[in-house]
Point group: C2
Chain length 140, copies 2
């Protein structure tokens, strides 16, 4: 159950995943986060907002970034150090969110990787940012 080691990584290496934000995901995220903001849950309220319809919790897309890093690049064993998140556009119910993580820098001394993390819907960026990850070294 180990992911990639620091020695397996190179700049430009990339991974992605896609998740559909359905009704069930919104309800589950509201429950687990405690964020019951009506812009996510109440269509009548959401119609009065600049978004005109319900939108997903921004942190749900951030959770998908975390899942990509923990599951694929670099995978189990990696330790999350930091993440920046810029929320660029709303994600609506039914949207398919594609998360892409691409290694932009490697620090061999600290065994840390920097990844550009981008979420898109229909090719448009909804969230971007940068992850800093500590990656286990290959056992000698």
């Amino acid at each position: 159950m180990s992911g990639l080691y620091f020695e397996d990584l190179s700049v430009g290496q990339s991974a992605d995943l896609t998740r559909t934000v359905d009704e069930k995901a919104i309800q589950a995220f509201a429950e687990v986060s405690g964020d019951h903001n009506p812009v996510h849950l109440d269509e009548a309220f959401a119609a009065t907002t600049p978004f005109k319809t319900r939108i997903a919790h921004g942190m749900l897309s951030a959770a998908y970034i975390s899942a990509l890093i923990a599951g694929k690049l670099p995978g189990p064993g990696a330790i999350y150090i930091a993440q920046t998140l810029g929320f660029r556009r709303p994600v609506k119910i039914g949207d398919e969110v594609t998360v892409t993580a691409t290694i932009t820098a490697l620090d061999p001394e600290k065994a840390r990787a920097t990844l550009a993390t981008v979420c898109t819907v229909g090719g448009k960026t909804v969230l971007d940012g940068e992850a800093t990850i500590m990656v286990p070294r290959r056992p000698a």
Copy 2:
């Protein structure tokens, strides 16, 4: 169902909430995020990691920050622009996480607030960072 308006805010204003990270929260967050990393879910695997026991998903604490901002300060109507997250210490199953958000800057031209966001367990910082929020102006 409206939160605070930009005109209601002042630097130093603060709000907090506390959540207990229980087994149910970990399972629910794994499900909704798709992050089934064994460090969160498998005690035998987690015992082999530097943490020695299972830890919560870092993004679960980030979700609590989002809930505090969406629910209390400034509350419904606010729009998340950006968030930085520094994961300082692990959160373990059963830990009580207290999230505090404090307004550090206000930009009247853009109606934006900057908040210092800190999560603590037993008085120790587990996550820190900064939120940038667009806040609705009070209707004339």
